[in-house]
């Protein structure tokens, strides 16, 4: 799928990013620029650092070195002197963080709030937005996700696929400039994967900038502008999906993608329907 990527303004810029957990180097110098409107899919073996990289972008993980800029403003700059290791003050971090929206593998909806309240929570609490306007917009967002009948339900009353769509609406309600997805369909029953993917495809088509970790290579092939292969904490391959997925050069990518070719035929029907 092709975007109107004429605006090649870098929206997200990651430079020389390192992340360590104790003694373990999880990210070993990652450089990545994502342009406005671009859909980037991150793939890689388990433990290669996909989740970690995504969580660094909104500082759920505090990196140990490097620089992260979102729409021209740094959310992270290495400074060993600062107490939390970040040169950027906490207030600025919070402000820039709300330029990102995140969707988690386990949905992480707020269980004590209805679907509608979940979606309204960010604008009301963080942006101190007008309640009525927020409610109206939240209802619209939920309707776009096909959830108009479920707005008053609590998360435990919803299926996994419905919960994940509420989570996407919740992230959208903050009007983020970039959306981060960490394996959004991995916790779902196979028959519920499609409905969540469809919501993501719609979002991509609306021009949203997205960074997506997924094992659904069919989705990557159809929707991504770029596919990035992460290997042991570094970017091993970065290119358009047909190059990365159909003509891989990196040996580990070859074996990783091998599985895709075996299952590609199975995915074909879904791809055509989306």
């Amino acid at each position: 799928m092709t975007h109107v990527s004429n605006t090649s303004a870098p929206l997200l810029k990651i430079e020389a990013l390192r992340l360590t957990f104790g003694q373990r180097d999880v990210l070993k110098g990652v450089d990545l620029t994502v342009n406005k409107g671009e859909v980037v899919v991150l793939i890689g073996a388990s433990g290669s650092g996909k989740t970690s990289l995504l969580r660094c972008i909104n500082l759920l993980n505090m990196p140990s070195h490097g620089r992260i800029t979102i729409d021209g403003e740094a959310i992270y700059e290495a400074d060993t002197k600062a107490r939390d290791g970040n040169d950027v003050p906490a207030k600025t971090v919070n402000r820039i963080r709300s330029r990102t929206g995140m969707v988690f593998q386990q949905f992480n909806l707020f269980p004590h709030m209805t679907a509608l309240e979940n979606v309204m929570e960010g604008p009301i609490t963080v942006k101190k937005a007008d309640k009525e306007a927020t409610r109206k917009e939240a209802l619209d967002l939920l309707a776009q996700m096909g959830l108009q009948e479920h707005v008053g339900k609590y998360p435990r009353q919803l299926s996994g696929g419905q919960q994940q769509r509420v989570a996407i609406a919740r992230a959208c309600a903050m009007h983020p400039q970039v959306m981060l997805f960490d394996e959004p369909t991995s916790a779902l029953d196979p028959e519920l994967v499609g409905e969540v993917m469809k919501a993501m495809v719609d979002l991509a088509r609306s021009g949203m900038t997205m960074v997506i970790v997924t094992h659904e290579l069919g989705f990557a092939f159809e929707v991504a502008d770029r596919v990035i292969f992460l290997d042991e904490g570094t970017i091993a391959e970065d290119g358009p999906p047909n190059e990365i997925l159909l003509r891989p050069t990196h040996p580990r990518l070859k074996s990783f993608v091998g599985r895709f070719h075996e299952t590609a035929d199975l995915l074909r029907p879904f791809l055509e329907s989306s």
Binding site: L60, N94, N108
Partner: protein, 218 residues
Amino acid sequence: MFDFSVITQNWPLFWNGLLVTLLYSALSIAAGLVIGLVIGLIQLTGSRTLALLGRVYVEIFRNIPLLVILLWIYYAFPIFAGLSVTKFWAGFAGLSLYAGAFYAEILRAGVQSIDKGQSDASTALGMTYGQRMRRIILPQAFRRMIPPLAGQSIIQIKNTTLMSMITVPDLLYQASYVSSFTYRPMEVYTMVGFMFLVLLVPLTLLSRKLEKVSERMK
């Protein structure tokens, strides 16, 4: 064998004692909850110094018998600090400080039992630490904390009887006074036990009910 006329004849004393017991229970539970909230939360901010401070507080007040705390505050602390401490303040402070340590532990455990994803999701929305606690974590944690909080509060109400040792005229103090001139300890202490039962059984039932309601909301 039982002669409950000693109770009816001295009822005003029992009644006054009961009021004092209720007053100290309410005040020390309220103050203990505030202390517990502060001590519990400072252990969760991520600051090592604050966490250590909270830890030290909890270990001191949780591991010294309440009676020793009360006696120390009433008799030793005034000498130590060079100021006079009334019975009221000594009893109130001792009970509250002691309860605070237990409430803090309940709060800390309750907050830590909330899935890490909740704090991730609220942080990702741009919420500050205070907003996350207030809007997301504490409302969920409080539901889980109802049974242990109720249990600790019941213990706390019974613990007020120890104040009789520093001559605060609570129910137990009045009872020992009555029994000292009527020589009817059996009736007197049976009555005290009965009064605590009447007071606490409804509270236990209430907490069960709250627990059920919060269960349904989960």
